[in-house]
């Protein structure tokens, strides 16, 4: 009842079974998809259409991913886990971009870097389970998920590389609130 986030910082290691692991994996992808969609909507509402498209593209990826997992575990009953009982290491499922990191003037590079960080967190999550789980089958699953995330990381890194080395100037808001008339 009274345990708190911090208490659970390192509890990814506590995942005890394959179904539990799969439930986490599925949640990770679903959350990531949902988050990207929501961010895309925000960008549309605030007219940053370029980034909106980018987020939708990521969302599509995550959706595919989630679907794959769903198909693979179709006959495996997964445990019903309350949002706060997932064994993440941080405040949120690792692959979801933190809402707080996003501004409406965000640039492509910044968006990609956020995505990269998210993919890396997911990779770390699975990687850690793959390293510490006792159940070999869990390790196998985790390693497989970790590899997929690694694939994503490379993909995003490639995109960032394509942007070229020079960092684009941060976009300032030419219509700040309270602009005097």
């Amino acid at each position: 009842m009274t345990e708190t986030v911090e208490d659970r910082t390192d509890i990814a290691a506590d995942i005890e079974s394959v179904p539990e692991l799969l439930a986490h994996a599925l949640r990770i992808e679903e959350d990531a998809e949902e988050r990207y969609l929501s961010l895309a909507e925000q960008m549309e509402t605030h007219h940053n259409h370029e980034i909106a498209r980018l987020f939708r593209w990521f969302a599509g990826h995550e959706a595919e991913h989630a679907q794959e997992i769903r198909e693979r575990m179709a006959c495996m009953p997964l445990p019903d886990i309350k949002p706060w009982d997932y064994k993440w290491q941080g405040a949120e499922s690792p692959e979801a971009v933190d809402y707080a990191e996003v501004r409406y003037t965000i640039s492509v590079r910044e968006a990609l870097e956020l995505a990269l960080a998210a993919e890396k967190r997911a990779f770390d999550f699975f990687g850690r389970i793959a390293a510490v789980a006792k159940d070999p089958e869990m390790r196998r699953w985790a390693a497989e998920f970790a590899e997929e995330e690694a694939e994503h990381v490379r993909l995003v890194e490639k995109e960032i590389a394509r942007l070229g080395p020079e960092a684009p100037a941060p976009v300032e808001d030419p219509d700040p609130p309270n602009e005097p008339l």
Partner: protein, 277 residues
């Protein structure tokens, strides 16, 4: 109306089609997330939930949910929610408001809702500023914060919502941080489950007028001790904490105010009797 409570629901079932107009980066997105996750976990059908608010950026939240909602006038959400809950005890009533709405203009209702202890949950999305009216100091704003309305700062001691809640008799008192949506969902869940008046202050940054609140992420930390059921102790703790203790801080067991409806109501005609001479 709870017959469908066993259907498994997803957080998205509690979200409406309406796209929020909050600034990207606003903490309120996380609060919405936490709210819908909490409701999904509770399984209460969306039609049995009412989300009541006042006016402010934060108070826009009802229309973003798929529950019944009331976007009332500035500062009166708690009174409206109280009337609703007493009249319709079958509903889950969440009152959601901002620090301006809830602690400035709505301060009196806060005091008296705590005392009254009706079984509802009060969530204040605290960004220490009036967001909607573009950046004036709220009761929880730092006295030094410079703004157009208070150049150089207000010089006024911030309002301490948790202490006031305790002092006025809230039955459940917690602090959450929007950047931890799952923990926030858990706290909201406990708040809803706890009988009586539950108060949750959610630190929810305003990226636009208080960009410095991005720091909160690294400042929050779990409350170091268990929740207590002793209000004096809880108050002392909270009065001396750093404002970033996250968790459930107090759980009381005061009797809940209910409508005391008669089990078998008399027919209205019986009321005439007293007038006969």
């Amino acid at each position: 109306m709870n017959e469908q409570a066993t259907i498994k629901r997803k957080a998205s079932d509690y979200k409406s089609e309406v796209k929020p107009v909050w600034c990207p980066g606003c903490g309120d997105y996380h609060v919405l997330l936490a709210l819908t996750r909490m409701l999904a976990a509770s399984g209460t059908p969306p039609e049995d939930v009412a989300v009541i608010s006042g006016i402010g950026c934060s108070s826009r939240i009802p229309a973003y949910t798929n529950c019944y909602g009331f976007h009332g006038v500035h500062g009166r959400a708690l009174a409206l929610g109280t009337g609703l809950k007493i009249a319709r005890p079958d509903l889950t009533v969440l009152v959601m408001s901002g620090d301006g709405d809830g602690f400035s203009i709505g301060g009196n209702h806060f005091l008296h809702a705590c005392r009254r202890n009706v079984d509802l949950t009060y969530v204040v999305m605290d960004n220490q500023v009036y967001g909607m009216t573009k950046g004036q100091p709220s009761p929880t704003t730092d006295p030094e914060w410079d703004s157009a309305l208070a150049p150089g700062g207000t010089g006024i001691r911030p309002f301490h919502p948790l202490v006031i809640a305790l002092a006025s008799g809230a039955n459940f008192v917690a602090r959450a941080f929007s950047g931890q949506p799952n923990e926030t969902a858990r706290i909201l869940h406990e708040a809803v489950m706890h009988p009586g008046f539950s108060f949750v202050q959610v630190l929810s940054p305003c990226v636009t007028f208080r960009p410095e609140q991005a720091e909160w992420k690294s400042q929050v930390h779990p409350a170091p001790v268990e929740p207590t059921d002793d209000p004096a102790r809880a108050a002392r703790r909270i009065m001396t904490d750093d404002g970033f203790n996250i968790g459930i801080l107090y759980r009381g067991d005061r009797p809940v105010l209910t409508a005391r409806a008669t089990r078998d109501p008399a027919p209205v005609e019986t009321l005439e009797r007293s007038f006969a001479t």
